[in-house]
Structure formats: structure tokens, C-alpha cells
Symmetry: C2
């Protein structure tokens, strides 16, 4: 009854999901959301703000560490432009969970890891984060990023 | 048609929400979720893991910065115990948005700010974060924290 990646849940030792109201599995929507996540990964690695903006809802919110929430398309665009001015990413996403909770709403939990290069210095180092996405489906049937927040899983800088 | 804090949205310059499928406003559920958030705030400020665990779903996931995701009640409990061993919080939550997307699913976006004290040194300093909560309603009608992630809104340490 749950749209979840069961192998991941099993690996995490979760035997059952107690919450109610999750929609019956719909492999089509699961695939559509996975494709959105793949497109997002590719756009991040290409430092391509325009490609990312295609994935966001008009009222999307992007919550990046060390910044207040970026609310709405213009603020989201400015935030990604600032990110790509500062750094270049080469990361892979691992999808831990995709759960559809309503016909037009779903969320995903992912982790990402790879390398980040500081553009101004050329210095490169490892990068690892965890992400929570909330997706909304628009009237034309496309899933969009409605809310998105991430944080590092690496130890804090000393 | 949207369960949203309109004053906040208005302040943020959002004139319309484009995504579809949001439930009709239900002030009762909005109040219940606000109460959950208030209880969470109080439990954090009291360093009370037991009180926090009452608020989490059995399969809840707690995603704290600088740690991999904590999945399921035992991992969530261990993570909060570790937090409260290390620091004491005195923070206030500001609710930017509560959106119910299905009878048993909702999410909230908040910001928190206040002070953190490092227990071992007694050093205290300002603390500011942004949070994204996903809530699930259990069979007995209680809203629980199903997924929760936060990150600092303060500049990175130099």
C-alpha cells in the first residue's frame, strides 16, 4: 500500500510503516518523480539554473543552509545563481524514499555525495548531504519541486 | 482553499499558489498542528527527549545537520539524547506555513532563533535555523512528526 523503496526501508531495518492514508502504489508516478530527481541531479552538476527552474513550482521554496528560505521563483533563481557562482558540484543522488500522499502531493528523501570545487580558488573537496523534497503536481500533470531543504551529513568544520 | 498562513505569504510577496489538490481549510487541524509545534518547541527548550518522542511517528525520520538520517524511533531517540548531552537550547519557533495536503498528511515550514549553550564549556551564542516538517495522522487521529529536517540560517563558521 506504500509507495516506498522497500529495499532501502528493509536495509534500514524498518519492518512496517505505521502512518495511514498513503496512496496505493503507482509505479508511473514513482518513475516520474525519479526522473525529476535525475534531471535535478544533472542540472546541479551542470550548474544550470535555467534547467533547475523548470523543475520548481511557481511558489517553490528552496531552503539552503546558511541562508534564509528562498520563496518563489525569482528568489529561488537568485539563490541557485549564487550557488553556481561560488561552487561547482559533481555529485550523485541516492533515493532513500519516495512517498505519494495525495493525487497531487508526494515527498522524497535522498542523500547525495561527491565533490565540490570552490570556483574562485579551484580547491576541491568531498561533499555529502541529505535532502527532503516535497513535490506538487500542477494542473498539466507535471510534478514540480514545491519545497526543498538539505543539510550536510559531513562533520562540522572545526 | 489553502491551509496557509496568508499573512506570512503576503509578507513574502506570494500572490497565488499554483499547485493543486490542497484540502479546504480546516482550522481544527491547523490548530492541532500548531499545538504540536508548540509542544516540540517546549520539549527542545527543556532538553526533554521523552516529550519529543511522544511527537514522532513510529517510523519517523530526524535529519539533523552533520549526521546521517536517523530512521525510526530508537535512532531518533539516540540522536536527541546526543543533542541534549552536547547543547542546551533556548529558542522560539516562528511558523511560516502549515499546509494540509491529504486527510492524514500535512507539512509545515518554520524558522527558529534564540541561543545555544555548549554544555561542556558553558559558552553561549546565537542560534538560528529553518525547518521543514512532514506530519502524518495516525489511526487514533493524532498528528505525528513523520519526517523532519533543519539547517542553520546563520553564516558558516570561518
Amino acid at each position: 500500500m506504500k509507495i516506498l523503496l522497500k529495499s532501502t526501508l528493509s536495509a534500514a531495518g524498518i519492518a512496517a510503516i505505521s502512518v495511514t492514508g498513503v496512496l496505493a502504489a503507482d509505479d508511473g508516478e514513482q518513475s516520474n518523480i525519479k526522473e525529476l530527481l535525475s534531471t535535478y541531479e544533472a542540472a546541479l552538476n551542470a550548474s544550470n539554473t535555467n534547467a533547475i527552474m523548470q523543475l520548481y513550482a511557481d511558489d517553490g521554496v528552496f531552503m539552503a543552509p546558511h541562508s534564509p528560505p528562498n520563496i518563489g521563483k525569482q528568489a529561488v533563481r537568485n539563490a541557485y545563481d549564487a550557488v553556481f557562482d561560488a561552487i561547482t558540484l559533481k555529485i550523485d543522488f541516492e533515493v532513500d524514499e519516495i512517498t505519494q500522499v495525495a493525487p497531487n502531493w508526494a515527498f522524497a528523501r535522498t542523500r547525495s555525495h561527491g565533490f565540490v570545487t570552490i570556483n574562485v580558488t579551484g580547491d576541491s573537496g568531498p561533499e555529502a548531504n541529505q535532502e527532503l523534497f516535497i513535490f506538487a503536481r500542477t494542473d498539466d500533470g507535471a510534478w514540480k519541486i514545491a519545497r526543498y531543504i538539505f543539510s550536510a551529513t559531513t562533520p562540522p568544520r572545526q
